[in-house]
């Protein structure tokens, strides 16, 4: 066997530190990349193709016809990608600046100062640096605004599962509203008390069950079955009343469309966190019925309510947005521009970080087997998403989940859950018995959150932990013996 070797890429355009990315993006020279394995020379037409072919195998990229044809082509692309200077990413956007507001956001908000420590590195050297002893949590946090999502995606494609865990575990992204989420040694859970017909008593029963098992410190977040202003308002009032009565340090959210939540907010509903599903292209976001301007408006409206509380460190919680993402969403909306699904997922994080979110989670296995075929693909994608999100400065959680048409089961979820715990995930989902009876998929249970806290020695958010040890929780546990007094009529 001949040893592998890589051929150098074509020379890249010289880039001055002061040149804005957007100028380079317009009409910049297209480059091709190549590398050789044995006597086979592999050619990649542009950055988009290089990234796609370097991506570890998954069904969605095959569906989009962007995946590597063979295992050898994939690793050839990884070699070429490893040799690519990071500055190249500032010159060649994967989706043109002129046609996509997410590209414009990425380019226009790139922080050259923050980028400077890694400016001279290639993608492969960035991986080495991320895993080195140099890469402290503090340095990683300072680097975040200097990295573009495409850089984060690129380096993750060269990383094994243990690399994704090891690097992410160093990065803490801490956010606050009424609880503090993301501190070292802590693991929070979103209490997800969904009900197939939004019945208040049924939702309250699930909330009670979850609170009694220590879930809810990330958010009490309800996916409504019907997306309407009145149901949203009704559910927000339900959680707010329970929270006030037992003095629970927690925030609520009803995960209706952002326009529905805004309408509820305008009518005076007690809105804590504002939710929206987002994706990594303008066209995919349009298919969700949102734009950056709309999210900006929601962010401003949420902040203006000032509903955050003083948190354990004495500061007032002011992170008000909650975003969900997931690989494959752009492709499913036919809005992927030939870019691989993992790179697009990282671009969604550029959208998220614009709005200083309290919570961001990938709903990794929800989309189905056309995008992530089996447990192996779901596990890797969950760890990639968590790593890329953290590297870009996001408070990443994960909905560890699968659907009944995927080749996956509870064993796969236990694997991903435990690995994410080791990687320092901010929060996971708490769904009664892991079975979401409204959205029809399997996530993680209240028990799963307790398991992870126990096996890794993790604790709930400090404010919530204090509540679990105090009078409010004691009163809830006592009153729960007569649930008529707790539950809405």
């Amino acid at each position: 066997m001949q040893p592998w070797r890589t051929l150098s890429q074509l020379p890249i355009a010289p880039i001055s530190a002061k040149t804005p990315y957007s100028d380079l993006a317009i009409g910049g020279p297209l480059m091709s990349f190549s590398s050789s394995i044995g006597n086979h020379r592999y050619q990649f037409a542009d950055l988009r193709e290089l990234l796609a072919k370097a991506t570890p195998a998954r069904s969605g990229d095959v569906l989009a016809r962007v995946a590597a044809e063979t295992a050898e082509e994939r690793v050839a692309a990884q070699f070429a990608l490893a040799d690519l200077p990071l500055v190249h990413f500032l010159a060649e956007p994967v989706i043109p600046y002129e046609i996509d507001e997410v590209t414009r956001l990425i380019a226009d908000t790139h922080d050259a100062q923050a980028f400077s420590p890694v400016r001279s590195l290639t993608v492969g050297e960035l991986r080495d640096w991320l895993l080195s002893d140099e890469a402290t949590g503090e340095r990683l946090a300072a680097l975040a605004p200097g990295l573009t999502p495409e850089m984060a995606a690129a380096v993750s494609k060269l990383m094994r599962v243990q690399d994704l865990i090891g690097a992410a575990a160093r990065i803490r992204v801490v956010t606050r509203f009424r609880t503090t989420v993301g501190l070292p040694g802590r693991l929070s859970a979103r209490l997800q008390p969904n009900h197939p017909t939004d019945e208040a008593a049924g939702i309250a029963a699930s909330i009670l069950d979850g609170l009694l098992l220590g879930s809810g410190d990330a958010v009490i977040g309800i996916n409504p079955a019907g997306d309407g202003v009145e149901v949203t308002t009704r559910l927000l009032r339900l959680v707010d009343a329970l929270r006030e009565r037992f003095q629970i340090p927690a925030q609520s959210c009803v995960l209706a469309h952002v326009t529905t939540q805004m309408a509820a907010l305008e009518q005076g509903a007690p809105v804590d966190l504002i939710f929206q599903s987002i994706a990594g292209t303008e066209a995919a976001n349009r298919s969700f019925g949102v734009s950056l301007a709309m999210l900006e408006e929601a962010h401003e409206a949420g902040k203006s309510l000032g509903r955050g509380a003083m948190c354990a460190d004495g500061t007032i919680g002011c992170n008000v947005m909650y975003f969900e993402t997931g690989q494959g969403s752009a492709l499913s909306a036919n809005a992927h521009h030939g870019v691989d699904q993992q790179t697009l997922e990282a671009r969604a994080y550029a959208v998220a970080r614009r709005f200083e979110p309290m919570l961001v989670n990938t709903v990794v296995g929800f989309i189905g087997p056309e995008y992530l075929y089996d447990g192996k693909q779901i596990v890797r994608a969950g760890l990639e998403d968590h790593f890329c999100g953290k590297l870009l400065g996001l408070p990443m959680g994960c909905d560890v989940c699968y659907t009944n048409h995927a080749e996956a089961d509870q064993d796969d979820m236990d694997v991903l859950l435990t690995l994410l715990g080791a990687a320092g995930v901010n929060y996971i989902m708490g769904v009664p018995g892991a079975d979401d009876v409204m959205l029809n998929y399997q996530s993680t249970s209240f028990h799963d959150a307790l398991y992870l806290r126990r096996v890794l020695g993790l604790r709930p958010a400090p404010e919530f932990e204090a509540w679990l040890q105090g009078d409010g929780f004691g009163r809830l546990a006592l009153d729960a013996a007569n649930p008529e007094r707790l539950l809405p009529a």
């Binding site: 029963a205 009694l212 019907g226 529905t260 298919s287 189905g368 009944n404 018995g433 009876v437």
Partner: protein, 254 residues
């Protein structure tokens, strides 16, 4: 557990909570883990859901039932996805008709119709077999005066296949009744998607959806009522999707 005492749940409370929701509440625990009986109950449901995903729609029987309950002709069509394995991996093929179906539709006398009614297996043939005919029956009663195209039953179909069918039929609005992805507690949940001026390329933001139509969820009369109300608004406002949803919220919840 760092000094947190999680209370044992009294049997009376457990029973009360379970009566209030189909969710798996009040499971009890051994240490922090689920007891054996709950663990096995979950596995049983997962096995049933897996089987529902792979079950095949008996189109002849369904078409006959629909013809009997609605008194209308029913067309049997097939998507470009040849079988379930292909369907699961190639959503693009599940959104398009196969050639014989396309030819068949193009040979029909085209509309204009106000409405095309399409029933597709989606991810649960069980849902469609149980709920499509009775729901249609309730719906048609509420659509007096509408010009309705011949109903279609589609094998291996996804929601967007209604765009192609509705457009070939010359219908102003398409309604797709489709088996939703089976949950552990709901292997037979039916969804209804409404699209104004259906044609290939429509996005999900341009549709409205009513989901969870089944015995334990939204009943036939309520589901048909919501559908009819959305249809009336779609026709009046000449649109479906996010914008229509906001305005119709009151009607849906009223």
């Amino acid at each position: 557990m760092s000094g947190i005492a999680y209370p044992e749940m009294l049997p009376t409370l457990a029973a009360r909570l379970r009566a209030l929701t189909p969710a798996r509440v009040a499971l009890g625990r051994t240490g922090v883990s689920q007891p054996t009986r709950e663990q096995l109950a979950f596995q049983r449901c997962h096995a049933q859901a897996r089987d529902a995903v792979h079950a095949r729609l008996e189109t002849a029987a369904l078409a006959a039932e629909m013809e009997a309950t609605t008194g209308r002709d029913v067309l049997r069509l097939h998507s470009a996805a040849a079988d379930r394995t292909c369907y699961l991996q190639r959503p693009d093929l599940g959104r398009a008709l196969d050639e014989p179906s396309r030819v068949r539709l193009s040979q029909l006398q085209p509309g204009p119709f106000d409405l095309a009614l399409i029933v597709a297996d989606g991810l649960s043939a069980l849902a469609v077999e149980r709920h499509a005919a009775p729901l249609l029956c309730e719906l048609l009663r509420r659509l007096e005066g509408w010009r309705i195209a011949p109903a279609c039953v589609v094998e291996q179909g996804r929601v967007a296949i209604g765009d192609e069918i509705g457009s070939l039929l010359g219908a102003e609005i398409a309604v797709v009744l489709i088996g939703e992805r089976p949950g552990l507690s709901s292997p037979d949940s039916l969804g209804a998607y409404i699209t104004w001026q259906p044609r290939p390329g429509r996005t999900d933001a341009e549709r409205n959806c009513i989901s969870n139509i089944r015995a334990e969820g939204l009943g036939y009369a309520d589901g048909a009522g919501q559908l009819a109300s959305l249809l009336a608004q779609a026709r009046r406002r000449k649109m479906t999707g996010v914008a229509l949803k906001l305005e119709s919220a009151r009607a849906l919840e009223g």
